[in-house]
Symmetry: C2
Subunit: 393 residues, 2 copies
């Protein structure tokens, strides 16, 4: 890897992401939208200044992990435990409705197929791609709006985390139906094991950090050890238990969220995040996009795919939120907050490609979904959080 | 590149580097020594937990760049202009004495050879490897001691920067004697051009930053644009002008050092540095070490190589510092501060290998020199800066 060209890439990404972020803010859109647009602009589709490479890819992934860790650190644990059951219900609805929606969309577009046929599984798989919420953009937007630590923010975050887990269960289950090697029961067991471990080991780790924090408050070692815990748990979650690394990072944040210095740690993480890894992550979404090789048929399917994926998520989550006694406006906010898709959708699509379930053509649909939802979610959220000003005439 | 194994590596590096850094501090050695030892311990030579890979290599390089940028930001520009001529003299002595020492060492060890023969050039090249000072460890040590911004710190830093430039001139000159393709005059011209550009464009950039800083003081955009400037100048310095990237980063820091918010920028850079990139850089020195394939002959030569390289640098720089009217103690401090060698020595050795001037066996000597000087410099510096306590009986 060429260090020099990476430093050039970083300089370009930082300048464009910041300028477009500020521009977006001027237009009353969230900064992340500007950063994604900046990535699109400097990427291979438009100006071609920067190509996504291995280094930037890893930095982008670290960016998501830091974002989720920071969100975990800022969690109000009492609030989380209170919203837990509601979040579970919202997550289930947010998986099942898009799953059904995606399956139906494919069948309406390409014709209905009998249970068990190859095309039937392809249809179901299109639904599976729609299930996984990517909450990082919502997190950043809620942070900008100052709503991340509210009951609503906690509900969205925990629902998105649970949603990830359920999404992976569904993926494994569908693949298991086609391929007898993977055993869905194993996935359920290892997921449960991870959370048991997280609670047990997490308690010991918390005690250890509390001890260090008490002896050396506000020293450099606290955020450094915390960052190590974040990376370690992200690794263990995905490598050992098959759960997404970002879930591990979020759990690491929750383990430390009741420390006396948790806001001090969060502050240091945020600086690392907004100075380098954050802009790289958001710009990389735009960088990934290649707008060639499109046919009219695929464009039409992709547009429908995007609309169905967003609508089913909003409908499923909002409806369940309403059932969980959130008011109308908050229910809609939760639905929209859960609407974003991200790299998990790409990973799922990649698995489908590997297993011969879908063709690579559908990657364009997935990328379009990621871009559209990444740009629209923050804009909708900002609109939904704008309080109506009472006119005084 | 596997994101997961990189996150595991990062977790291990952060924990070991911090624990050994703190341990070193307990033993009254600087923390960086502990971080290098941590790298050695977790690296392939001992425990084998972590292998140096592309990602870590780039991060380590970014770590040096950030360190030099931060040092530039903290520079007192008046002090630098005052110490400039002295620094030039010290740098020249610090290049010529090791160059002569290395050449003589090789000739004493393997026999004298006539001018122009292959072995003669090899001998000279061993001297060339000894010339380039790597100041990053000294910077970190002086920072820990709170002496970085003193006249002494500025003298060491600017001498090390000039030393780098002269070292590259010497390298190009020696390679030019063997190979008529590279023209030493080109190198001199492009180096001069870079510094003219740095002054001219630097002034405009400074004005631009001053304007932004005045309108938006202490906002995120200032450190982000600064970091982009740092990466950009590092890239341009090496890619366009053939000067080391760290020199470009240092110059970027100097351009911004008179900004009202320069300490604010420095603070943000330092957090990025000590949270992630710094520990990776210092640990990577240890990680690079492979202690196999050694014969008694090479071990003997390597030991002498290390001693001669360190002694000639200290003698050359200290003697010239004394001539420049520094007192005895400060002269010795400057000599020791200039003693460290780093990745530039490895790059020079690599060039010699590519040109068929030296065999890969001498890499062990270079790595030993880097480790020994990296560990000894901070220890010696700390001892030299310890004020004698007057006993009151």
């Amino acid at each position: 890897m060429d260090v020099l060209s990476i430093m050039r890439d970083l300089a370009i990404i930082l300048i464009f992401a910041k300028i477009f972020g500020l521009l977006a803010r001027k237009l009353r859109a969230p900064q992340v939208v500007g950063e994604i647009v900046a990535g699109l602009l400097i990427g291979p589709s438009v100006l071609g200044f920067v190509q996504l490479n291995d280094f930037l890819g890893v930095c982008a992934q670290i960016g998501v992990v830091l974002l989720m860790f920071s969100a975990g650190l800022g969690t109000n644990l009492k609030e989380l435990l209170k919203t837990g059951p509601k979040a579970l219900a919202i997550a289930c609805a947010g998986v099942l409705v898009p799953l059904a929606g995606g399956t139906l969309l494919y069948m309406c577009f390409y014709g209905f197929e009998p249970w068990g046929s190859q095309k039937f599984f392809t249809a179901v798989f299109i639904g599976v791609i729609m299930t996984a919420t990517s909450v990082s953009i919502t997190v950043e937007t809620l942070k900008e709006l100052g709503k991340l630590k509210s009951e609503l923010g906690t509900a969205i975050l925990s629902a998105a985390i649970i949603d990830d887990v359920i999404g992976i269960l569904v993926l494994t289950f569908v693949l298991g139906l086609k391929n007898p090697k993977t055993k869905p029961i194993q996935v359920v067991v290892s997921t449960l094991l991870f959370f048991v471990l997280a609670v047990g080991v997490g308690f010991l780790v918390y005690k250890l950090f509390k001890f260090i924090d008490k002896r050396h408050p506000r020293t450099r070692r606290i955020p450094i050890y915390s960052l190590a815990l974040c990376f370690g748990l992200a690794f263990v979650a995905e490598k050992v238990f098959g759960i997404a690394d970002i879930t591990g990072a979020y759990v690491a944040g929750i383990i430390l969220c009741r420390l006396h210095d948790s806001s001090y740690i969060e502050e240091k993480m945020d600086i690392n995040s907004y100075m380098l890894f954050g802009p790289i992550f958001f710009a990389s979404i735009g960088l990934k996009t290649k707008l060639d090789g499109m046919t009219l048929d695929i464009v039409a399917f992709s547009l429908l795919f995007v609309v169905v994926a967003m609508a089913t998520k909003v409908i499923g989550c909002s409806a369940m939120s309403r059932l969980c006694r959130f008011n109308n406006k908050d229910s809609l906010r939760i639905g929209v907050g859960m609407m974003t898709r991200g790299e998990v959708a790409l990973i799922v699509a990649q698995r489908g490609l590997d297993e011969g379930l879908i063709s690579s053509v559908y990657f364009t649909s997935v990328i379009l979904l990621i871009i559209a939802s990444s740009i629209l979610t923050p804009i909708f959220l900002k609109l939904l959080f704008r309080e109506k000003k009472v006119k005084t005439i």
